[in-house]
Amino acid sequence: MSEATSARRAAVEARRVTKRFGEVLALDDVSLEIGEGDFFALLGPSGCGKTTLLRIMGGFENPSSGELMIGGRSVLGQPPYLRPTNMIFQHLALFPHMSVFENIAFGLKMRRETPGRIRAKVEEVLALVRLQGFESRSIDQLSGGQKQRVAMARALVNGPSVLLLDEPLGALDLQLRLQMHDELRRLHRDLGSTFIFVTHDQAEAITLANRIAVMNAGRVLQVGTPEEIYNAPQTRFVAQFIGQSNLIEGRVVEALPQRRLVVECAGVRLRCRSSADMKPGAPVTLSLRYERVGLANARGGADAVAIPSLIAERTFLGSAVRITARSASGLTLVADIADLEHAGPLSVGSPVELQVSERSITVLQD
């Protein structure tokens, strides 16, 4: 515990946390370390256990087994009202019988702050969420976005070292969501506290978080930066849940130094790099993002493989054209071609030469 390491101390640490609800295994041996000041996303489909994990952090559930540390101290058995966390709830859960001011002041009143300090702090946090002048409004006089801000203010006014967000933007329309994303980013930057938020929206997780844990069926499958998760998914689930990927079954035909592989997939030899040692003959699944499949004759590197194919389907996406193309040997790839200036018409039935570079392929571990 030197000075140097304390800068990246864990704000929250889950060790082998398991949670059972009767027969249902909601969390299965989850270990996770969330650094101080992280904007951390728990990402997964509904029912994957992400909300349960968040509620365990908030103190609303107790794990069946395992350990949970907040700020380096075990908080197991500590009720929510004693924890240094505050939660923004999925449906906001504002107090319907209180005004905006009373809602925000609630936590401060519970801590027996003086009326003067309460007023000052509420003013301050209202300015932070840009809701000055709304103090005396009642909750049902607010729009969806304003309620959202009140919920944030109500949690933030207590200065939590860890802010928990349970899909708080789920009820908002797209425009408002994007606006609140900016707001959240700004708040996180200004406050510097740890934000942990639960979402099933991979785009939200990627754009907001600096670290993501992808969860499925009660397990944490992969933890990393958005770039790592996006560019190097380690499992089939992660590859499919985040962005859109070609999943290609193949067999290792050659193992080169530095874990470089040559993999044959439906008659096409692709070059890629594995994170684990692989032997020739081993079956592998490769993940290849739609937008990482390019057209040949663009600046392809030495490691790039060109695949002559015929276009079988074409969809216009606005910013790109999505084509499904099949090689003579039967390898089908979906590609999002964004560089339309040099792409030609890309009409169905016409030939196209796809290009796949070594770096765009990920070797999945399951």
Binding site: F60, P80, Y81, A93, P96, F106, N158
Partner: protein, 291 residues
């Protein structure tokens, strides 16, 4: 306003409102108008005949007996209502915290006594409170008392006990309904913000269920204010209420006009109390069901 003007009314509003208006007129307004009318009539040896006489009201206001009786009735109704509130709230809270199966069962249990006839439910207190009733014999056996206590039955207290028992469901149900409507997350939010269990209750649960409690209070108050059977059975001479006074005019005294006048006074008092209460409890919110 603009919405109505822009679209215009659909169909014929008056015609569409007719069934409801008719219902209200027939079952609510008509009897009341008749009651008020009769209260100005005159009853004699040959029956009650139409008139416009203030003599019935004069009699009520001149004899202080009626005023005292009214005060006692108000007191009994008020005490019964508050007792019912204090007793019913914890029960409603307990039931609302149960899982669905248990909750259904408990609500059923709550209802079972109400399948028994009202008179029987009031009557059941006789063998409990009576001179040789359950309480007296238990106390005698325990040696707490030497001779049976008489005041248990045929007293104001007995009437209050009976009324609370008979009408408690009208308190429990509306409270239970408002408790049920409280979002579990709101309670979690309070805990998250530092509220200990008792603070959660007094700062969030109680205020949010207040409309239900007030609705229950209004109902129980009105029901007990006009109670007749319970005081008749359990009250004895000292526990008689205004309802008994009214009933005796119709059943015994054959003085319908005076009975009607007494009824009108009771209605007026009930309205006055509700209006006064409504000033500070915002009755429209209770009846409107806004949580």
């Amino acid at each position: 306003m603009t919405g109505i003007r822009a679209g215009g009314p659909i169909g014929r509003p008056l015609l569409l409102a007719a069934p409801a208006s008719l219902w209200i007129a027939l079952f609510t307004l008509a009897p009341f108008v008749l009651l008020v009318a009769v209260s100005f009539w005159v009853s004699g040896y040959y029956g009650t005949r139409p008139d416009f006489s203030l003599s019935n009201y004069a009699r009520i206001f001149q004899n202080e007996l009626y005023g005292l009786q009214l005060l006692k009735t108000l007191r009994i109704a008020l005490v019964s209502t508050l007792l019912a509130l204090v007793l019913a709230y914890p029960v409603a809270w307990f039931i609302s915290r149960q899982a669905l199966r248990m909750k259904t069962l408990l609500i059923l249990v709550l209802f079972i006594p109400f399948w028994v006839n009202y008179v029987v439910r009031a009557f059941v207190w006789l063998p409990i409170l009576g001179r040789s009733g359950a309480i007296n014999s238990a106390l005698l056996r325990l040696g707490v008392i030497d001779t049976p206590v008489d005041g248990l039955l045929y007293s104001e207290g007995a009437v209050i006990v009976g009324l609370v028992y008979v009408y408690t469901l009208f308190m429990t149900l509306p409270i239970l309904l408002t408790l049920e409507r409280i979002d579990e997350n709101v309670l979690d939010a309070a805990r998250d913000l530092g509220a200990a269990p008792l603070q959660v209750f007094f700062r969030v649960v109680l205020p949010l269920s207040w409309p239900g409690a007030l609705a229950g209070c209004v109902m129980v108050f009105l029901l007990t204010l006009s109670a007749y059977v319970t005081p008749q059975l359990l009250g004895g001479p000292s526990g008689l209420m205004f309802g008994n006074l009214i009933a005796s005019q119709f059943l015994g005294g054959n003085n319908w006009a005076f009975g009607a006048a007494l009824s009108c006074v009771l209605v007026a008092v009930a309205l006055a109390v509700l209006a006064a209460a409504g000033r500070w409890i915002k009755l429209h919110r209770v009846l409107g069901g806004a949580a």
